[in-house]
Chain length 418, copies 2
């Protein structure tokens, strides 16, 4: 057992002074100091630092680290056609493994304890997650040319691989698939009673072209096909109509916000005020490192709030507490990790120690606003997943040396990009 | 003498593999390894890390750390009238000193080696800068009620206090001053042949009200009064007209960009494309921690580039190399620190070691884009000013314990804010 004491905890009820005890993979106690303490293997004096539930990166493409800083400042179509697609075609199982490891190091260093990923080479991807003990949920990435019936086998296979790995039904997007895919996935959703996910309304062009093809928005199309009958959600959701928001609210579907990527690709700003007013469930994701380029949830939370202010031309727009909740609990629930959404007894011990002794956190007037508006990855002092410390004081504990991870990634990046 | 080797340097010509030798306060050699090496007091193996000139925070209000996270998510006027002005009225020389120290720790931890500050209690402010060896240039902060003739004494006094401290002519803004201030400062500018600085065109309302009062924009008003006859510049410059940009370009005046603050206060987005096309000189500042809330130039550089993309609805907008240059060399020249603008022999040794062994920097496809799009304060491994290491591996070397700085700031913040 591990005891954390003399610090603060971010619990569903707010920020409080509490101890946290971890037994095995789970949290066993949250509350004031007690006389009847068990024997602990380790006792951590937090010295006033803050424990928060780990950030959940609810939309990403981990393997795209190899394109970081290699495909910036281009118009979206040129970016996809000249930099992304031709280089992705050169990926191998071995290079994908190397690139995913870089992303996983970055998640852990930045206080992210789970990711919701959509990319290639699922067997290699889940192997890294299992080996390192990092929570990685995959979303099916079907595009035209793939056999959509593969979702049945994959669903059974990747949802029976233990606590760190999972698989959710989905497809890449409306504009990369036809009706056969949507219908097959809808049948699977009803068969498994499972939620469905995809990129949705990221750009105005995507929505316009869907309306031209199908007469309705992507969200309306998918809902008419029963794809949201068991929930799920969409990535980006920038160009949602009011009706799209109503559908998501009614279905309990999640809008996963990707402010960094939407800004850098000039896709636009999510309609946060309207979504909150309509009660749309929210989660937060970084998107992949080719379009963001950091896997940094502090930056995402800051951008979501400040983009909302710019969009509304109102400094009072945004909602830091709600966006922080979306980045921790919202993401966990969106991904189906309902036992990783809070610091509370019985929940999985997926926690991050926030260093309150860096000057950007001082003075401590409001802890939540500190996290949103002045926090950054330098404040992550420790990241624990399932009761195991994977990162602490700048050092990784993943069973592999960070330098060897970097060397492999550099070698494969040079082989692909020159 | 100190030797840095086995790393990269960001020089005016680009990123190269070079050694850097520091002799006293200055850089004495930049180039390949040599046989004829002098005796060094310290030799630093950079292990592939990058040395950059320190960031210059070209517009800030350091003392406002006490309002960090205490005055967010309010409309601009309410923010000023309810949170900023009444609490600033309670500042004392002692509390200001405590709050400035928090800001200076944050600058140093984030790779900022100089700041261009506008605030109260100049004697206390410069004392911290001199004691710690941090470069702090003050801009005169005149508002209605102040005697503008004070600029003559202050100019002589604060520009003769040694290498770390300086004073530039200026005033708060058009909307907080009358013609007497502008005329007095213009006379002083001509007397000293000195540049003039102020907040300029931060909000649309400010520009509209100036036009209503004076028939012209603030920039045109100031230029007509001869205030830019020796250069200078403006903070924010969000609502610049084409004519304003032409005036700045013609006068060699600097637009200091404050993207973070302009976003959080919903003031708008600087017209970067037009400014670059017209050849307006650029620098970068964080603005104060009440409106930003981090003193983080990585975030500013990222925001300037991505806000430009959103404003232009074009993912190709922005210019990372130029914005990085604005954040290091542009700021130095704007502030008059022309010997702190580059890693080159004879320049002051104001340098930052960027940790390239964090996952957000890997793989290394493009160092400049890494700094802009995925860099963050966790990448700052060392900050040196005038040849002295003030921060290294998370530890401060300023002659004072960070914890005692935090304690004093907390005490005074509670006394003011409750």
């Amino acid at each position: 057992m591990i005891r954390f004491y003399n610090g603060l905890t971010l619990e569903p009820s707010g920020v409080t002074e509490n101890e946290v005890w971890v037994d095995g993979t789970a949290i066993s106690y949250v509350g004031p100091a007690r006389e009847d303490m068990p024997a602990f293997q380790r006792q951590v004096d937090l010295g006033g630092d803050l424990l928060i539930p780990g950030f959940k990166d609810a939309h990403t493409h981990s393997g795209m680290t190899f394109l970081r800083s290699a495909a910036d400042d281009l118009p979206l179509q040129e970016w996809l056609e000249k930099q992304v697609f031709p280089n992705e075609a050169k990926l191998t199982a071995e290079s994908l493994t190397a690139f995913v490891k870089v992303a996983f190091l970055e998640y852990i260093a930045n206080g992210i304890t789970a990711c919701f990923d959509m990319y290639f080479f699922p067997d290699q991807f889940v192997q890294v997650a299992k080996d390192w003990g990092f929570r990685a949920i995959m979303c099916e990435s079907l595009t035209a040319g793939d056999d959509p019936s593969r979702v049945y086998d994959r669903y059974e296979k990747y949802n029976n691989m233990g606590p760190f790995v999972g698989y959710r039904l989905g497809f890449h997007a409306e504009y990369t698939n036809g009706m056969e895919t949507f219908k097959t996935v809808s049948e699977a959703a009803h068969h498994f009673k499972a939620p469905v996910w995809c990129h949705n309304s990221e750009t105005k062009r995507e929505v316009d072209e869907c309306i031209a093809r199908h007469g309705v928005t992507p969200t309306r199309l998918f809902d008419d096909l029963g794809l949201y009958d068991y929930g799920g959600g969409g990535y980006h959701c920038v160009h949602f109509t009011d009706e799209d928001m109503d559908i998501f609210a009614r279905r309990g579907a999640y809008a996963v916000l990707n402010a960094g990527s939407n800004g850098k690709l000039a896709s636009g700003i999510f309609r946060l005020r309207e979504a909150m007013e309509k009660g749309v469930k929210l989660a937060v994701g970084t998107d992949g490192p080719a379009s963001n380029n950091a896997l940094d949830m502090f930056r995402e939370m800051y951008l979501i709030n400040t983009y909302a202010k710019l969009r509304e031309e109102n400094a009072a727009a945004g909602d830091p507490a709600r966006i922080l909740d979306a980045a921790v609990a919202g993401g966990a629930r969106a991904m189906g990790l309902t036992d990783c959404d809070a610091i509370a007894p019985g929940k999985q011990a997926d926690m991050v120690r926030i260093d309150m002794h860096r000057p950007n956190m001082r003075p401590v007037n409001n802890v939540v606003k500190n996290l949103i508006y002045s926090g950054d990855p330098s404040n992550v002092r420790m990241t624990m997943i399932a009761g195991k410390v994977l990162y602490e004081n700048g050092e990784f504990h993943v069973g592999e040396d960070a330098e060897s991870v970097y060397r492999a990634a550099e070698k494969h990046a040079r082989a692909i990009l020159g």
